[in-house]
């Protein structure tokens, strides 16, 4: 039986980021989390876990977030999954590429927790249940 909480896949090679995002987003009790530490693992976990939303870092080993984004959008299972890019890269070219590759939104590091929560709620809705 599927949990009433929404499932978020957090993808970042930084344990600091993984832990802080889980702590900040976990406070509401509306979400459960799956983590991945690079783009390749992100694709595997996204296909296996079918998260409701993906938070995707850009600069990662093995496969970058932008490459993973392209791959996720090419797959049937993850084509419609909302994806928020989380990155230090504020250059316009990077932002354009992310939107071109199919991300739904973009937040800059250091992350403003209120902004991140607002964007997640905007994509998932404020209620926890489907």
């Amino acid at each position: 039986m599927r949990s009433a909480r929404k499932k978020i896949l957090i993808v970042d090679d930084s344990d600091v980021m993984l832990l802080t995002q889980k702590m900040v987003l976990g406070r509401s009790g509306h979400y459960e989390f799956v983590v991945a530490k690079d783009g390749l693992e992100a694709i595997d976990k996204a296909v296996a876990e079918r998260p409701d939303l993906i938070l995707l870092d850009v600069v990662m080993p093995r496969m970058s977030g932008l490459e993973a984004l392209e791959e996720l959008r090419a797959r049937e299972e993850t084509r419609e999954t909302p994806i928020i890019m989380v990155t230090t890269r504020s250059e316009a070219a990077n932002i354009e590429r992310a939107y071109h590759n199919g991300c739904n939104d973009y937040v800059m590091k250091p992350v403003d927790p209120a902004e991140l929560v607002a964007k997640i709620e905007s994509l998932l809705g404020r209620t926890a249940s489907r």
Binding site: M17, L19, T20, M23, T88, S90, M108, P110
Partner: protein
């Protein structure tokens, strides 16, 4: 002549009759008007009373409306205060989460390389800079760059060998924060002495912040305090751990 007098008499009688009828009609009309006036007066009085009652009711409704509007404004103000308080609490929670995670990760390893990685992660992801150097104090008391990210190692060597601000931070153990945002290549935003038991064992030099970060905030100061004490201790422990492993048979 008699005929003329008869005719005149009849005329007078006719006039008298007409006058009498006219006067009767006037009296009737007068009576009708008097009754109508009385009726109108009555209606007017009733109307005035109703108007007074309606005015009183309207005044009361206006008063109630004004009262409700003030109550609504009070509730709205209180709601805004609660919401600001809620946002403040949420920000405090996020700040505490950052501090907890930083502390947890700093003390989660005895491996020097991994510790350096954690310090970088904290500076990049929580403070917001990709230009930093982590210095270590050697046995000769010289500070040498152990990790360089986003800046030339030569800048680090120049800082450690001749910069007055750097020397001041290493001797005082006090955090130094620039009063204006760093904009040029090699320009400092902050110096964070890493301390272990009142001795400065290292230094974090932070240069330019990420473009989307306008300046350092109070939470960054708290993170600097945490790095200064806990990263310093962790760095000292990794050294002891390495020495112990080297010495072990």
């Amino acid at each position: 002549m008699k005929k003329h007098l008869d005719e005149h008499g009849k005329y007078v009688q006719r006039v008298q009759e007409d006058t009498r009828k006219y006067i009767e009609e006037l009296f009737s009309e007068n009576e009708r008007l008097r009754l109508a006036n009385t009726s109108l007066e009555l209606a007017k009085r009733q109307g005035e009373q109703q108007l007074l009652a309606a005015t009183a009711e309207l005044d009361h409704a206006r008063y109630e409306n004004e009262k409700l509007r003030h109550q609504f404004d009070d509730i709205q103000s209180e709601r805004e205060r609660y919401y600001e308080h809620y946002l403040s609490l949420e920000q405090q929670h996020a700040n505490l989460a950052n501090l907890y995670v930083a502390s947890f990760r700093l003390h989660g390893t005895l491996d020097r390389t991994e510790l350096m990685g954690v310090i970088q992660e904290i500076v990049i992801n929580l403070i917001g800079s990709e230009e930093l150097i982590v210095f270590e104090r050697g046995s000769d008391d010289a500070f040498t760059p152990a990790v360089c990210m986003g800046v030339d190692e030569e800048i680090g060597r120049r800082l450690a060998s001749g910069d007055a601000g750097f020397a001041g931070a290493t001797s005082s153990g006090e955090i130094w924060i620039s009063d204006k945002p760093a904009s040029a290549d090699g320009e400092l935003s902050a110096l964070v002495p890493l301390r272990a038991d009142d001795r400065v064992v290292g230094m974090i030099a932070i240069f330019r912040l990420l473009p989307q970060k306008p300046g350092l905030e109070p939470i960054d100061r708290e993170l600097f305090d945490l790095l200064g004490s806990q990263a310093g201790t962790a760095l000292y422990l990794t050294r002891l751990h390495a020495e112990a492993r080297k010495a072990a048979p």
